[in-house]
Subunit: 213 residues, 2 copies
C-alpha cells in the first residue's frame, strides 16, 4: 500500500497526521474532504486524491473516519514504532532539539548526546550526560541507535557521518551543512538547512522589493 506514493503526497503526510490528531483531540470522529480542505488550505479534490493512496477511508456522504485514517497514516509514517536516537553536537540547536519534549511523545527516545567541547562533556541535559565524541564509535557498538541527529559544524560532520554509517545507523537527521557525498542506499538522510531557509526568505523579500520598484 505504501508503494508508488509520490513524494509530494509523502511530504503532506505529516501535515495530515497533525491535523487529524488535533481533530481527534477535539473529539471529532468524521470529517468531509470539504471541511478538511478548509482547515488545511488544500482543495477537497486534492485531499481525496491524496487519501485515496492509502485505501478508501472515505464514504460518500459520510466523510472520513478520522480515527482509522489517523492510525493508518501513523503506521505509514512509522510512528507506531519507537526510535533510539542520539544527538551529535550539543550546541544550541542540539540542546534545543533534545529539550523539545514533544518528540518523546511520539516514540523518539534520546539515548545519547555527544560533543567534542570539553566544557560541555559531562554536563547533563534532560537527564542525559553529554559524552565525549571520541566515545561515539564505542557507544554505537554497544547500543542500538536508529537515528542520529547531526547538529555540529560542517567541518566535523563528514567524519562523524562515516563513523555513524559504518556502525550501522540507518537514519540521519542532518542539521549540518555537509551533504555527504557517498552513503549506502540503505541509509536515509533528511537534511534541514536552517540558514538556507532563511536565505530563501530574504531572496523572496528582495524579489518583492524589486518588483515594487
Amino acid at each position: 500500500m505504501d508503494k508508488g506514493i509520490s513524494s509530494a503526497v509523502i511530504k503532506r503526510l505529516p501535515r495530515y497526521y497533525r491535523y487529524l490528531g488535533s481533530l481527534l483531540d477535539d473529539g471529532i470522529k468524521r470529517i468531509s474532504s470539504k471541511d478538511l480542505s478548509e482547515r488545511m488550505n488544500l482543495t477537497a479534490s486534492q485531499i481525496r486524491q491524496d487519501l485515496n493512496n492509502f485505501g478508501s477511508f472515505g464514504q460518500q456522504g459520510y466523510g472520513y473516519n478520522i480515527e482509522v485514517l489517523h492510525a493508518e497514516i501513523k503506521k505509514l509514517l512509522g510512528l507506531d514504532k519507537t526510535y533510539n536516537m542520539i544527538i551529535v553536537g550539543a550546541g544550541n540547536i542540539g540542546q534545543a532539539l533534545l529539550n523539545y519534549i514533544n518528540y518523546q511523545k511520539r516514540g523518539y527516545n534520546f539515548v545519547g548526546v555527544f560533543d567534542k567541547n570539553p566544557k560541555l562533556v559531562g554536563l547533563s541535559i534532560r537527564g542525559l550526560e553529554i559524552r565525549d565524541i571520541d566515545t561515539l564509535e564505542d557507544f554505537l557498538g554497544k547500543n542500538k541507535v536508529d537515528i542520529a541527529v547531526l547538529s555540529l559544524p560542517g567541518n566535523n560532520a563528514e567524519q562523524v557521518i562515516k563513523t555513524i554509517v559504518d556502525c550501522g545507523v540507518k537514519g540521519i537527521w542532518n542539521f549540518s551543512h555537509i551533504l555527504p557525498a557517498e552513503t549506502p542506499d540503505d541509509v536515509i538522510i533528511e537534511n534541514v538547512h536552517l540558514t538556507d531557509s532563511l536565505m530563501t526568505l530574504t531572496y523572496k523579500l528582495t524579489e518583492l522589493e524589486n518588483n515594487k520598484n
Copy 2:
C-alpha cells in the same frame, strides 16, 4: 535578471552561495563547472544551466570567476542588506536560533525577543531582554522590523501572525505548526516544520524496512 528563475534553482541558490563562499575562504579564484559539480553533488550541465540564469560568469576553458559569481548570488539572495529581526517565542528553539551567532555575520540583526511566559520575561539572552508578548504591537509600532521568527506553539501563533502582519512586517520565518490561512500577497512566509521533517525520515526508514521484508 531575477525574473523567471524557477523555484528549483532558487532553492539551490543558498547552497551555491555557501559553497562558493568556502572556496573564497580557501583562496580559490576560479572553478570549472566540473569541479564545482563534484563538490556539490550536482551534474556539471545542471550547474551550467543554473548559473546561466544569473548572467554569463563562466568563460569556456577558464571556469567561473568565483568572486563575481558569489557577489551576484549574494545580491540575489538579498544578503547585501541587513534585516531587523524579532523572535516571538523564547523557548528552546527560539533561544537556539538567537544564539546561533552565525546569523549576525550575514546581516541578521535581532532587535527584540518576546514571550508570554512570566518566568522568561525579563531574562536576557545575548544582551537582549525577553519582553512580554503583550508589548509586541507597541514595539512594532516604534521599531522597523523586517523579519519575525515565530517559534511558539501553534495555538498562540495565529493571533501573533495577525498582529505582525497588521504592523507591516513583511517576512515571517515560521517554526510554528500554524499555516496562516490568509496573509496579504506582499507578506512572505517561510515555513520550517521540524517535526514534519523527522516524520519524513521515519516514513522513509519504514519504507526501507518494508522493502527488505
